[in-house]
Each structure stands twice: as structure tokens, then as C-alpha cells.
């Protein structure tokens, strides 16, 4: 064992010795960059988004960027280990929502990492009911809860999928204190689990997305799999940038009818709650700030050229570039709002 430990030490010090000059001489991002993402799926929205951005960045800067779908916990670990800029991370609101909901493996990203530029929004977060549901709208659901009816909502707890549910509870509380207790979570996992919960009659409302559930809203009336949208959480200004044809047979105008202000889930009695799933960069806190500037200015030029927006829109993402400083301010404010929502219903 001694031998190994000594060798390790020797190797480690050799590493420090050799790599120090390399790091110092590097101007901005190294030639080979690893972009870790908070999702383990290479077919999901985080990967797609990251791949689009990575490709544009590596072309623009003439470097290699490899996207690795290691998942949130491993991505944070990898980011922590590397302050040279050879590891960067892209993730979405889950990074701080996981922390707000107290999930294991999630630190406060604002305190432990540097939050970098935002690049895009996935506007798809939605809530659906079975096609034959008595609830025609969110208003019906809140009214039912007020009357003492139990409304079961299928979500995946601890993040993006739960925040809309928390907002619903909060809205119920604002409307009729106590009624929030009638809105209960059915904790499930993936989208297929949530759909299944609806078909098994274990849930009255499910969390879903425009992309994954739209076709279920277009089925024949007698199809037991049929669903209806009741709420899309995106801001109307976000949806307004979506392609006019929308998705499938649901046009942009149809979508706007399910979003604020037409469908209102109140935040505090006056303003509406909204949630856009935004993708942004995260950096190691000790990384050279010059690298952040480099990424900021590269992205500014890439977005000015306008090609990346077309790619993003083709995959139903809404381009949303904010340089680091603005992104940080915007996301901090967003986090604070949601922290209040979660705190308000925490007593229940």
C-alpha cells in the first residue's frame, strides 16, 4: 500500500509541476474542454441544448468541446475538481430548485459556483388533465380544492416538475387559506410514469410537457389515453417567440391561452406565477474570470450572427442569451421568488 501511496503522491506533485505552467500560459479556454451536463440522458433537452451551444462555441473559438451527460451530482463533482476551465457545466433551473427542495447532492449554485450566461429556454413545462376530466381549467381545479375536493397531481418531486405544483398550492392558499391542503402530490418518476399514473386513475392532474404530451391532446374522444392541457407555466413573452405554428396541432395562440395572463396561477394575489426552464452555464468559482468574459463575448457574437437561434427554434427551444452578469441577476431574482413560494407552503 505504501508503494502505491508514494507513487500517487509523486504523480500528483508531478502533475502540479507540469500543469502549472500550462494553466498559466493558457489564454482563455483550453484547447480541449469538457462540458458536463446535469442530465444523464443524451436524448433529452439539456443534452440537445448543450450540444447546440457547444458546437457553436467550439466552431467560433476553434477549440474542442465535448458534451458529457454525467448527471447533476457527478457534474458538480467534476466541476469542483477542475478550476482550469477545462471542465464547464450547463444545466437548468433544477440546479437551484434541487437545493431549494433540499435534495441530496445539490449545493446552492449561487454560493458554490459561478452562474454564467443563459442560452435558451424550454417553454414546454405544462400541466394536463384526462380528456374526460371534470376540470376544464386551472380555475376549476382551485375552486374544487376550495370546496374540499382532493386534487391529486402527479409530479417528479424535488425540482422542475414540482415547482408548478408548489405554485398551485401557493395559489390555493392565497385564494382560500387552507384549501392548499386539498392539492396533494402523487410522487412519480419519468414522464411515462406520470402518464401511467393518470391512466391508472392515481392522479387527476399530471405534470408534463408540450413536446411529450401534445399528441395525447389530439386523440379521438373515446380514446382512454386522451389528455387536455390546463396550464403552461412559461411566460407569455417567452411563448410569443415560439414558432407561430406551435407544436403538432396546437398553435402558438392555443398555447398562450393556457399561459399567464389568460390562465392565471397567482403568486401573491396580484402578479401571476410563471416558470421558464432556462439553460445556463455554471463555472468553478476559482476559474479565471477571463474565461467567463471570453465565453460571454463569444456567445454575444454567435447570437448576433443569428444562426444559433434558428437551430434552437427548430428543436422548440426559445433563444434567450443573457451575458453572465445579467443572467446572474435574473436567475438570483427568479430563485428568490421560488424560495418564497416554497417557504409559503412549507407549513403544510
Amino acid at each position: 500500500m505504501n508503494f502505491t501511496r508514494r507513487t500517487l503522491l509523486a504523480a500528483a506533485s508531478a502533475t502540479a509541476f507540469v500543469s502549472a505552467p500550462i494553466a498559466a500560459s493558457a489564454d482563455g479556454l483550453p484547447r480541449n474542454v469538457r462540458m458536463v451536463i446535469g442530465s444523464t440522458s443524451t436524448g433529452g433537452d439539456t443534452y440537445q441544448n448543450s450540444a447546440i451551444v457547444a458546437e457553436a462555441l467550439s466552431e467560433h473559438l476553434g477549440i474542442n468541446i465535448k458534451v458529457d451527460a454525467v448527471g447533476a451530482s457527478e457534474a458538480f463533482k467534476a466541476l469542483n475538481r477542475d478550476s482550469r476551465g477545462s471542465t464547464i457545466m450547463v444545466f437548468h433551473d433544477q440546479s437551484y430548485l434541487g437545493n431549494l427542495y433540499g435534495r441530496e447532492g445539490y449545493d446552492d449554485p449561487f454560493a458554490n459556483y459561478v452562474v454564467g450566461p443563459t442560452v435558451a429556454i424550454n417553454p414546454g413545462n405544462a400541466y394536463l388533465v384526462p380528456a374526460n376530466s371534470p376540470y376544464q381549467s386551472i380555475d376549476d381545479i382551485l375552486t374544487a380544492a376550495e370546496k374540499g375536493e382532493r386534487v391529486r397531481v402527479a409530479i417528479q418531486p424535488g425540482g422542475v416538475s414540482e415547482i408548478g405544483f408548489s405554485a398551485l398550492k401557493n395559489a390555493a392558499q392565497v385564494r382560500a387559506p387552507g384549501s392548499e391542503e386539498n392539492i396533494v402530490a402523487v410522487n412519480t418518476g419519468s414522464q411515462s410514469d406520470k402518464n401511467q399514473a393518470m391512466w391508472d386513475d392515481l392522479a387527476d392532474v399530471i405534470n408534463g410537457s408540450i413536446q411529450a404530451n401534445e399528441q395525447f391532446t389530439q386523440l379521438e374522444d373515446d380514446d382512454a389515453k386522451g389528455m387536455r392541457f390546463v396550464w403552461i407555466t412559461a411566460r407569455d413573452t417567452t411563448l410569443a417567440q415560439a414558432p407561430e405554428a406551435g407544436m403538432g396541432n396546437t398553435t402558438r395562440d392555443d398555447m398562450l391561452a393556457y399561459a399567464s395572463p389568460e390562465t392565471s396561477v397567482t403568486l401573491d394575489g396580484s402578479a401571476d406565477f410563471t416558470f421558464d426552464k432556462e439553460f445556463f452555464f455554471l463555472f468553478n468559482p476559482e476559474m479565471d474570470p477571463a474565461i467567463i468574459d471570453q465565453i460571454d463575448s463569444a456567445l454575444t457574437e454567435i447570437y448576433a450572427a443569428g444562426e444559433i437561434q434558428e437551430r434552437q427554434k427548430a428543436s422548440f427551444f426559445i433563444p434567450n442569451f443573457l451575458p453572465s452578469a445579467e443572467a446572474n441577476a435574473h436567475l438570483t431574482q427568479k430563485r428568490d421568488t421560488y424560495a418564497d413560494v416554497i417557504a409559503a407552503i412549507a407549513g403544510n
Binding site: 417528479q156 419519468s190 389515453k225 428543436s315
Partner: protein, 494 residues
């Protein structure tokens, strides 16, 4: 429809199948990884051509797993685990080539039968599949777990090993994306940094089967000679299609089981071959031969895991829900092209649907042709000297472990941990096959069991939920009774 079949289309399928076979044959590389690696290429290829490539990779990747399973005793992919049980003993008897050919023919049958099912019944089957709630899915997993008993040479030790496998699989986080609450459990204090995600299946698998076997060889001083003791292909062991005489039921049943497991979202690919194997053993006239080099075992396992290919596409194309991890990536290929997959897909995009069916058909045929004729070269691998073969296998295992989750070093350490564990376990007479089956199925068993009780709050739900659950209980009882009777029989005959 014929205009779809361009030379490029065919070339992509054949090329994809070839690359898939290579991925599948390398221990630790999977069909999923092959698809993930090539997914970005499909953006520029367009939808039909992109899918042609990916489906080729899928079919090739699932099939390639049988090569190391049979020749080296290392399952190339989790779904070929039951292939090792009879394939490797055959290879050790010098019947490697024969075993490979049996596996390939079975793979082709499984692939074609499931494709036919996909083509004819996709939407109807998807509607049936959604009748399977947590309860029925738990019973299916439980049924697959009964194979633990069937595989044990010493029933008590075997079942203990199987439960130990389940227990070790539970280490880490109760995964939120499967429906868990995201809390840690069973992690020894101080190891949270490494163990928060638990042990990954693939490194565990190649550690137990690859590294442990090499350690055992090292312990024996790496006896001289080749990996297979007798390479002379004996006259009696020559492959002929007559092996399949009397196996018609086995082939069809296993293919359909594979297809059906594929259709159930979330139940997972490895369950397909395990279930087919359990069934083949339960219904066999000579169940005592299973695990000792019984061709019917290879047939069941391989037609089962290739049956999965068509099955997993059913929920993908008729519900937009992937049937296994590989088809989950296919969704990415669709979204890259801006195409929605959901219940309306087949009706809205008949051309793409037809192209996929044709691609699957060509891929299956290409897989068969390539593997059948490449076998004599594959089989040569056992003639490579051990001092060259073993270090290269070790290196490939490292690559497989490191890349399976896109670059996590702990997965490589997992390989070593379970290599050593496998060596020690064999010495303690723990049984590796039931252990790994417990490890594979443990997490799903947990989610479906706990969620069933969470949703229904009553243990009796497992019997009363539906007629499907009653049928499943009959199968479970049949399988357990079969194993018990068999173990009695072998005991008295000793």
C-alpha cells in the same frame, strides 16, 4: 415506399449494424452507447437515413453481446447475461462456433418475430401495455427473479446470493427519476462522495465476469495454452439447423416474451432474456441440463433479447414513450429533426414508419449475414495466447466502465471492487449468476413494490389488482415449484 430504399439508406443500415456488432462484442460497450455516440451524426443525415443508421446500431449492438458471452464468459451487454450460462460451457467444451451459430439464428428469429409483432400490432399492444400498473410490473420482475432459484446449484446459497445482489443494488440514492424520494441509504459513512449514485450495472457486470475470471486464472498461475481447452471442432458438435428441431415453441415463446418485455416501459432490457430463460427452463423436458451447455438456453436468451428490439419500439412509436434506454435515445433523433413522436406518429408519418420497419428488417438480415460468416474469425479469439488476450480484455473493460456514464472514474474502481468481490465470493461458494440477476432487477423490484403499496396501501392488491396479476402469480408459483422439484430430483439422483 420503394423510393425510400436508396443505396445510402441500405449502406447506413449495414454500416450501423456492423459498428453495433463491434460495440456489442466489446465487454462493457453497449447498444445504447453505440446509439449515443452516433446520434449527433444523424442531424445532417435527415430523419429516415439517420434512423437507418441508429436502428442498425441498435440491432447490431444487442446481437453482438453474444460473442464475448459465449467465447469469454463475459456478457458483452447486460441482456446477454443468460447467454453466458450455457454458451460459455459449450465454448469450454470446444463447441464455441456451434454455440455462436445457435445464438445468431436465435437472434435473427427473435428480431424478425418481434418486428412482425411491431408492424402488425403496435398501437393495439401499446394500449394493452398501459394496463400494466406498478403492481403488474412488480409481479413481472418477481417472476424474472424466480430465475435465481432456477440458476442456483445450491438453492440456499443461490437465493442468498440473489438477495445480496438486490441489497447491494439498493446502495446509493432512491432514484427520483424512477419515482423514489432521492434520499441516501445503505451508504457506509464517509463514502457518500463516491457512492451517492450507487454502483453502476455495467462495471459491476464486467468486474464480476471479466476481472474476476482473470484473477482466478492468475491465481492458478495462468495455465498455459488457449482459453478453450479443446479447439478441435468435433464431428458431433458441428452446427446444423437440426438443433432447432423441437425448439420451435422455445423460439417463438422467447421471442414473444422479449417483445412483450420491450413493450412495457421501464421494465428494462435485461429482464427480457432472463424471463425467456426462466420460461425455457421451466417448460423444458431436461431442465437439469440448463447452465451446463444446453442449446435451448442460448436459444431462449438470444431470441428473448433480440425480441426486445421490435418490442421496445412499440411504446416509442405509438405512445412516444421509450421501451428501454436505447430507444430513449431514438427520441433524441426525432426531436433533432423536429418530429414529434406520440400516439399520432404512425398515422401522421407513414413514410417514416415504413422506413423504420424496412430498416429493422434489413438490419436483422445484415446482422445475421455478417455474424454468421464472421464467426469463424470471432471464434479465433479463444486461440489468442492468454498473456496477450487478458491484458487487452482488462483494458477494454476499463474503457467500457469509464465511458458507460460518460467519464466517471468511480465506475472503473467499481470494476476492480467487484472483480475482487467476484473472486472472493466464488471461494465462499456464493453464486455469481443469481447475484447479478438480483443486482439487475433489484432497483425495479423496489420501485414497483414500494409504489404499489404507496398507491394502494394494501398488500392484497398484488393478488386482486387484475386478472393479469393472477396469471403472473400462477407463472411465479410454477417457476418456483419447478426449481424446487428439480433440486430435489438432482439431490436424490446424486
Amino acid at each position: 415506399m420503394l423510393e425510400l430504399i436508396t443505396p445510402l439508406f441500405v449502406l447506413l443500415i449495414v454500416g450501423g449494424t456492423m459498428v453495433g456488432i463491434i460495440f456489442g462484442s466489446i465487454p462493457g460497450m453497449t447498444a445504447t452507447m453505440a446509439v449515443a455516440v452516433c446520434l449527433p451524426l444523424t442531424y445532417s443525415l435527415g430523419l429516415e437515413n439517420g434512423l437507418a443508421l441508429l436502428l442498425g446500431l441498435y440491432v447490431g449492438g444487442i446481437s453482438g453481446g453474444l460473442v464475448p458471452a459465449i467465447l469469454l464468459g463475459i456478457p458483452g451487454t447486460p441482456s446477454s447475461i443468460t447467454t453466458t450460462l450455457d454458451g460459455y460451457p459449450m465454448a469450454q467444451k470446444g463447441e464455441g462456433e456451434r454455440a455462436l451459430k445457435i445464438g445468431i439464428v436465435a437472434s435473427l428469429s427473435g428480431g424478425l418475430i418481434s418486428l412482425l409483432v411491431l408492424y402488425l400490432f403496435a398501437p393495439a399492444l401499446a394500449d394493452f401495455a398501459i394496463k400494466f400498473s406498478y403492481v403488474e410490473k412488480f409481479l413481472i420482475i418477481l417472476f424474472a427473479l424466480t430465475v435465481m432459484a432456477a440458476l442456483s446449484s445450491d438453492m440456499l446459497m443461490g437465493i442468498f446470493s440473489g438477495f445480496l445482489g438486490i441489497f447491494i443494488a439498493l446502495i446509493g440514492t432512491y432514484d427520483i427519476s424512477d419515482g423514489g424520494n432521492g434520499k441516501y441509504r445503505l451508504i457506509p459513512p464517509g463514502t457518500e462522495y463516491w457512492l451517492d449514485g450507487g454502483f453502476s450495472l455495467l462495471p459491476v457486470l464486467i468486474g464480476l465476469f471479466g476481472l474476476a475470471a482473470i484473477l482466478e486464472q492468475a491465481e492458478l498461475g495462468v495455465p498455459k495454452g488457449h482459453s478453450a481447452s479443446d479447439l478441435q471442432v468435433k464431428e458431433r458438435s458441428k452446427f446444423s439447423f437440426s438443433i432447432f428441431r423441437g425448439q420451435g415453441t422455445n423460439v417463438v415463446r422467447s421471442s414473444l416474451i422479449g417483445t412483450f418485455v420491450g413493450i412495457l416501459p421501464g421494465v428494462g432490457g435485461s429482464a427480457a432474456s432472463i424471463l425467456s430463460y426462466t420460461n425455457a427452463k421451466t417448460f423444458s423436458k431436461k431442465p437439469e441440463n440448463f447452465g451446463k451447455g444446453e442449446p435451448a438456453g442460448i436459444i431462449a436468451s438470444e431470441s428473448g433479447n433480440n425480441g426486445l428490439t421490435g418490442g421496445a419500439l412499440v411504446p416509442l412509436l405509438s405512445l412516444g414513450i421509450p421501451g428501454d434506454s436505447t430507444t430513449a435515445l431514438l427520441i433524441g433523433a426525432f426531436t433533432l429533426q423536429g418530429i414529434q413522436v406520440g400516439p399520432l406518429f404512425i398515422g401522421n408519418s407513414p413514410d417514416t414508419w415504413n422506413a423504420m420497419i424496412i430498416a429493422m428488417l434489413i438490419a436483422n438480415i445484415a446482422m445475421f449475414a455478417m455474424m454468421y460468416f464472421a464467426i469463424r474469425y470471432f471464434a479465433k479469439v479463444v486461440t489468442v495466447a492468454k498473456h496477450l488476450l487478458f491484458p487487452i480484455i482488462l483494458m477494454m473493460c476499463v474503457i467500457g466502465a469509464y465511458t458507460i456514464n460518460y467519464g466517471i472514474m468511480f465506475d472503473v474502481w467499481t470494476l476492480l471492487i467487484f472483480g475482487v468481490f467476484g473472486w472472493v465470493a466464488t471461494k465462499l461458494r456464493l453464486e455469481i449468476a443469481p447475484f447479478i440477476i438480483g443486482f439487475i432487477l433489484g432497483p425495479s423490484a423496489e420501485v414497483y413494490f414500494v409504489k404499489s403499496l404507496e398507491s394502494f396501501g394494501d398488500l392484497s392488491i398484488f393478488v386482486t389488482k387484475s386478472w393479469i396479476s393472477v396469471v403472473l402469480w400462477l407463472l411465479i408459483i410454477g417457476s418456483v415449484a419447478g426449481s424446487v422439484m428439480l433440486s430435489r430430483k438432482t439431490k436424490t439422483s446424486l
